[in-house]
Amino acid sequence: MADVTLQNLVKTFDTVEAVRGIDLSIPNNEFVVLVGPSGCGKSTVLRMIAGLEDVTGGDIRIADERVNDVPPKDRNIAMVFQNYALYPHMTVAQNMSFGLRLRKVAKSEIRDKVQRAADILGIAELLDRRPRELSGGQRQRVAMGRAIVRDPEVFLFDEPLSNLDAKLRGQMRIEIQRLHQQLRTTTIYVTHDQVEAMTLADRVVVMNAGRIEQAGTPDEVYHRPRTRFVAGFMGSPAMNFLDCQITEANGSTVARLAAGPALPLPAEQAARVRNHIGRKLVAGLRPENIREAASHDGANSSGVPHDVSIDIVEPLGRETIVYFRLGDATLCARVGTEVHPRAGEQTSLVFHPDRLHLIDPETDLVL
């Protein structure tokens, strides 16, 4: 087991700068998820750590050793690929033991290791099959087994669940989590799926356009996003953004939403935006912070009701997603199942300012 440090890591492909100076320190045992839209450089970072891509600039350190020029096989890492990359002409056992056989590990030791990994992953009865005889989930397990038998210091996962159907993805997510709890190996996991990021990570690293936007616990990046990008990327449905103006009235600071209600800001936040009074900012409010008027969650007291006209209704069972128009903007709200809004209807929704994010449109930073 080892910690991994990235220092000012840069990668350029011809003229395209894919990774633009990444600094990240991953302590031993941590499960870090790199998340971001496609093309944000997250896979490139992972592949550089794996040694599959050359480093254009900066340093990669594994267990305090600079590994920029160390070939992949000597970095003591194991990687699980998106398409599993199982060798189709080998059996499951041969697939898992290939790396050990190349390293000339004793046959009896290989057998033990393969058996143990197969037991952990529940694929012991598949050892003599070939990849084509396996289902997607089983192949995924074999790919993980191949990583486990190597007993690496670092696990790398490159979008390992993206080829599975939704149900299986949920199951495998739990298994990966269980595996990490069991093995406690430092893990770097790349995904574009924010649910995977939130559920698996000790720490989420949100990337955009080759840079780290924010690194923090799932809680931090969700509730205290540092930039507009992070605020908009994490969470589904995405956060609502709309223009607002900060004004002072009767000694309290309020954010006046464009064509919407004026939301009084909590004292702490009011202090932070004192310098922006009179300015136009962008307000970010998550769908769950716009609720139905008769909400039972007790947060009603601080809410500001506002009449809106409902555009689209998406009932999801345990909640209903409501899209409505406010001026020119289409916003999204999450309401409970007790109310049954209908498209075209006028209704009153309550805006909760306690989780309002105010963003400086010039810097895109959350204030």
Binding site: A50, M79, F81, Q82, A85, P88, F98, L102
Partner: protein
């Protein structure tokens, strides 16, 4: 008339009808010549009397015939082995070039294969020909002895194999290149993470992944090489002293040039069972392996 005749209204009938051109082709170009050759092989030289297997017993008693058998096998085996090795090496080399530069190399490498062999062999003949030989001219420039390319048994055999390899290697190249491109890059990356070096990647990933293509290409090439005619015909006409004759050129010599068509037919028929057995074995393995990969 709006209504089709009853026979045509049945779908199988239509299907059979539409296959008629194919059947006609196979019948006219494969079955008829084959059975006619069988028939010819049972006649006497004047094609006036049925002699049974006499032509074959006659052939089996002749040393020249067995020499042709040995030569054909030697020629085909050596040529195919070199074609396969050179094709594989060249395919690998081209595959490592970035995709943008690959086209022109692929195009250039294919040239020997697309020139009609009779023509290109004529070019080679000029290079080998004792009086004008450019190769010998080059050799003597560097104070090396001239080589009797086409008049010495060893060098004549060497020359026809060389030309055959030159013509045939691009076919292997193109087949292997297509096969190499079909191997997912992730497999090599996974192998690299597993600690495989270039040779291990080749033996544990590349070879097993393209084994089927190798088998099919080799089979195809063995058949074509065993039946080769034009190179020998142009370069040596089977000489010196019949030591470069192959089945096809020997059949031509016996059947057409010496006027014993039934005997010539017997020579060419001799190839058939050999190739049939070979094809059967290789194709059976290919099917098995394809089923295990899929």
């Amino acid at each position: 008339m709006r209504v089709l005749p009853p026979l045509l209204r049945r779908k199988p009938a239509v299907a059979v009808l539409m296959c008629v051109p194919l059947f006609a082709l196979i019948l006219g170009l494969v079955a008829y010549p084959f059975f006619h050759a069988l028939f010819l092989a049972t006649l006497n030289k004047a094609e006036t009397a049925f002699v049974g297997l006499d032509n074959f017993t006659f052939l089996f008693g002749r040393q020249t015939f067995w020499m042709v058998v040995r030569q054909s096998l030697l020629f085909a085996l050596v040529a195919v082995v070199f074609k396969a090795l050179i094709g594989l090496a060249a395919a690998h080399a081209i595959n490592t070039i970035p995709t943008k530069g690959q086209r022109k190399w692929r195009g250039m490498m294919l040239i020997p294969w697309v020139i009609p062999p009779a023509l290109s062999t004529l070019g080679w003949w000029w290079l080998f020909e004792p009086t004008y030989s450019a190769i010998n001219w080059g050799l003597t420039k560097f104070a090396m002895p001239a080589v009797p390319w086409l008049s010495d048994t060893f060098w004549a055999r060497f020359s026809i194999i060389l030309v055959n390899v030159w013509v045939g290697a691009p076919f292997f190249l193109i087949m292997y290149l297509a096969a190499l491109k079909s191997i997912p890059g992730e497999l090599y990356e996974a192998a690299e993470m597993d600690g495989a070096g270039p040779w291990q990647k080749f033996f544990y990933i590349t070879l097993p992944m393209i084994r089927n293509i190798i088998a099919i290409t080799t089979l195809f090439s063995i058949i074509v090489t065993l039946a080769n005619f034009d190179i020998v015909r142009v370069l040596t006409q089977g000489g010196p002293l019949n030591t470069t004759h192959l089945f096809a050129t020997y059949a031509f010599r016996v059947g057409i040039e010496s006027g014993d068509i039934p005997l010539g037919a017997s020579v060419s028929l001799f190839m058939f069972p050999m190739l049939a057995i070979l094809a059967f074995i290789i194709l059976r393995n290919v099917r098995r392996r394809a089923a295990s990969l899929a």
